[in-house]
Symmetry: C2
């Protein structure tokens, strides 16, 4: 029965989106991870193969985000099915592009389809968050939700989950530049302080509110002015060689704003239109090269549909 | 020349709007302060009379917010004119309803019209902020901007000023209940801590972002869920007798949410529709009475036009 082998795609996402630290994430069109899942009656979930990770990811299903998501899914519906998972990692690991979330999202989209979509898409999120807990030690939705649902997602609350879709303007383009240096989410969390000066916190919530207004009006200039993170970026930018020169180069090349994607080291820019975005990508890559780092550039629209079955 | 005697009105405003501490304010339709200003050639600005303040406000123009705003206005255009101001205080002093801002706004609207509107409305804001500096010791725009311009205003930045108008839904009603107890803005500031736990700050900016989304979608339930202030309200609520029982009564009576207006002691609720708002007003007043406090209730739409000349 050919519906039992499902090929699914889940996009990368920009966690935090600068000022929206821990509450926002946005899906991009590409790159993304792929899962080819074959349903079976073994009652066992296994990882058949992983491509593109240089052997770094766990091959045990219960230690792998894609595997965990499928295990949790099958547990929730008390199914006796099993599944064999092939994971195609297009996203670099530890990059700040929501790599672990994308693998888990592609996996749950695939198992859901294989079993005739017993869940609505949004209801798959808890399985991905359990997988994120295994990968990162915390069950955040700021990559999982946008990769699954698409668009710009605001997570107002985690307990209970309150997920808000924020419309984004048509011409908004995302530039992601991933330098060849690894920053572990855990390390990126450790540089943060446990308290914030009140005046910085006020600046941050003025900007998160303004970013939402800029997206919804829409007002591209306002989006740019709001992309300021006075809380995490000052700490995390020290983990990214050349950070300030890259940010300056992006803005000089026409970016509305520029910041760290998730916990880094990938940096993102928002731009109005593809022509500017292409220029900004080149400018950012050149600046990374100037500090001796190779990098990949991804220029993409906002992904408004989220993860999907592709075969 | 009859255009030289101008009667202007400026509405009360809800400073902070719960989660939007120090960055948001919203104008209500009523109550508001009135200024009757007579232009003359004396080169002197004077306060002719103040009604409704029980003699509490300064009668020297340079110590009175309405006077200061007019003095600064005339200085800016290097005018030799003078003005005589009658101030009709409909707003209670030290109430958290933007009383000092409303007086100054009415005054600048009047002097601007008397001189043939040399300034656009939005450009009058700096004069009001200078007046606020005299009254409160700090030049915040969170009451001044909504009283002047109307609607829900987000102040993304104070230096330079970045004022963003946030659309509000048609059926949104505001309930203001002013108990007869005075809280000085200065005291209300002193109970605040100078730093915030990171996790509370994250909660706050999730809510400010969600409040803007709720207003713009519009989504009344989301507006309600977002009206949470984990930063200032826990400190300031102790200055308001019966705070928690009043908030509970408002929500039980159907309010979307309830909080402190500005630095208090006035409390506000947002409601969908006038019938619910009327009930909420009664419920809040009854709870204030239960702790021995008399209060006034004001039920009003959002004021979308701001201050205006009325004669």
């Amino acid at each position: 029965m050919n519906t039992k082998k499902i090929h699914a795609y889940a996009p990368a996402s920009i966690g935090n989106v600068s000022c929206g630290f821990d509450v926002m994430g946005m899906a991009v069109d590409a790159p993304g991870d792929e899962v080819i899942l074959t349903l079976n009656d073994s009652g066992v979930v296994s990882i058949k193969d992983i491509e593109g990770d240089n052997g770094k990811l766990p091959r045990k299903a219960e230690e792998n985000t894609a595997g965990v998501a499928v295990i949790e899914f099958l547990k929730a519906i008390e199914s006796n099915h099993g599944a064999e998972i092939t994971l195609i990692k297009n996203l670099p690991l530890g990059s700040g592009m929501g790599s672990s979330a994308a693998s888990a999202v592609a996996a749950v989209i695939a198992i859901n389809r294989a079993l005739g979509n017993p869940f609505l898409k949004a209801d798959l999120l808890p399985f991905v968050m359990q997988a994120e807990f295994v990968a990162c030690g915390s069950a955040h939705a700021d990559n999982a939700a946008p990769s699954l649902l698409g668009g710009l997602i605001l997570i107002r609350d985690n307990h209970p989950l309150d997920i808000i879709e924020i419309p984004t303007p048509e011409e908004l383009m995302c530039v992601l530049v991933h330098p060849h240096v690894e920053v572990k989410t855990r390390d990126a969390r450790q540089v943060l302080k446990t308290s914030v000066p009140l005046k910085d916190a006020i600046t941050q919530w003025g900007n998160t509110a303004a970013l939402v207004a800029g997206m919804m009006k829409p007002d591209y200039e306002l989006i740019g002015r709001s992309l300021q993170d006075v809380v995490a970026e000052p700490m995390r930018s020290v983990l990214i060689p050349g950070f300030h020169s890259i940010k300056q180069a992006a803005v000089t090349a026409g970016a509305l704003g520029c910041g760290i994607s998730g916990s880094g080291p990938t940096m993102f820019s928002f731009c109005k239109g593809k022509a500017i975005a292409d220029n900004v990508g080149v400018a950012m890559q050149q600046q990374f090269a100037a500090v001796g780092l190779q990098s990949e550039v991804y220029v993409s629209k906002v992904n408004k549909a989220g993860a999907r079955v592709i075969g």
